[in-house]
């Protein structure tokens, strides 16, 4: 069965500090990995996907198949980055499998 684990429920960092949100997955094949973000009072939206290999709002994430990880990183946190972040996996089945989410708080 496929599973996504986000070990941190809450992560608090100061503005300007580096951010790393952890995501580990369990899947026997070749998954596609995503990061979704939900800002306060807004709907869930796609932040980035591993297949695009792009940087969005300064965030990057690299798929590490050896460690089955897809950690989200940003070198310098900004206050507007405060939000709920969800790691998700698609294994070819049609729905996404989400982690429980990490609440990121950026302190001024």
């Amino acid at each position: 069965a496929q599973r996504v684990t986000q070990p941190e429920k809450l992560l608090s960092v100061f503005k300007g500090a580096p951010v790393e949100l952890k995501c580990n997955y369990s899947y026997s094949g070749s998954p596609e990995l995503f990061w979704y973000v939900q800002y306060s009072r807004q709907r869930l939206q796609l932040l980035l996907r591993h297949i695009s290999r792009e940087s969005i709002k300064g965030f990057t994430a690299d798929l590490n198949k050896g460690e089955t990880s897809f950690h989200l990183k940003k070198p310098f946190a900004q206050e507007e980055d405060s939000a709920m972040y969800y790691c998700a996996l698609s294994g070819g089945a049609d729905g996404l499998t989400f982690g429980k989410g990490t609440h990121l708080i950026i302190q001024p």
């Binding site: 709907r43 869930l44 796609l46 698609s90 089945a93 049609d94 729905g95 996404l96 989400f98 989410g101």
Partner: protein, 116 residues
């Protein structure tokens, strides 16, 4: 353009009652998904439609849950004999097509269901 919309935004019902939740996907999106998000959890997949047909309903928890999409656009999630454990936010998402790879899913604002 208009995003995915869901109605109602909030629904309070009593245990044992029947409820219907509606989703209007982005125009032209052939794929539609329903998820359920309980407090403190990530969204949990329920069912996926490609056009009018349910291509994958493996996430529906039991036979009290049913969903339709009769014209390949609007979808309705139906819950019979509601239980307190059904209380959650029900999310709908749509994507352009399955095609090659996994298309981006665009989410609606959700319907918060409370079963008293």
């Amino acid at each position: 353009g208009a995003g995915v919309s869901q109605t109602p935004s909030n629904k309070v019902t009593e245990k044992g009652k029947y409820v219907e939740l509606r989703c209007d996907p982005i125009s032209g999106h052939t794929a539609l998904y329903w998820y359920r998000q309980s407090l403190g959890q990530g969204p949990e997949f329920l069912i996926y439609f490609q056009g009018t047909g349910a291509a994958d309903d493996s996430g529906l928890p039991n036979d009290r849950f049913f969903a339709v999409r009769p014209e390949g656009s609007v979808s309705t999630l139906k819950i019979q004999r509601t239980e307190r454990g059904d209380s959650a936010v029900y999310l709908c998402a749509s994507s352009r097509d399955r095609g090659q790879g996994t298309d981006t899913q665009y989410f609606g604002p959700g319907t918060r269901l409370t079963v008293l």
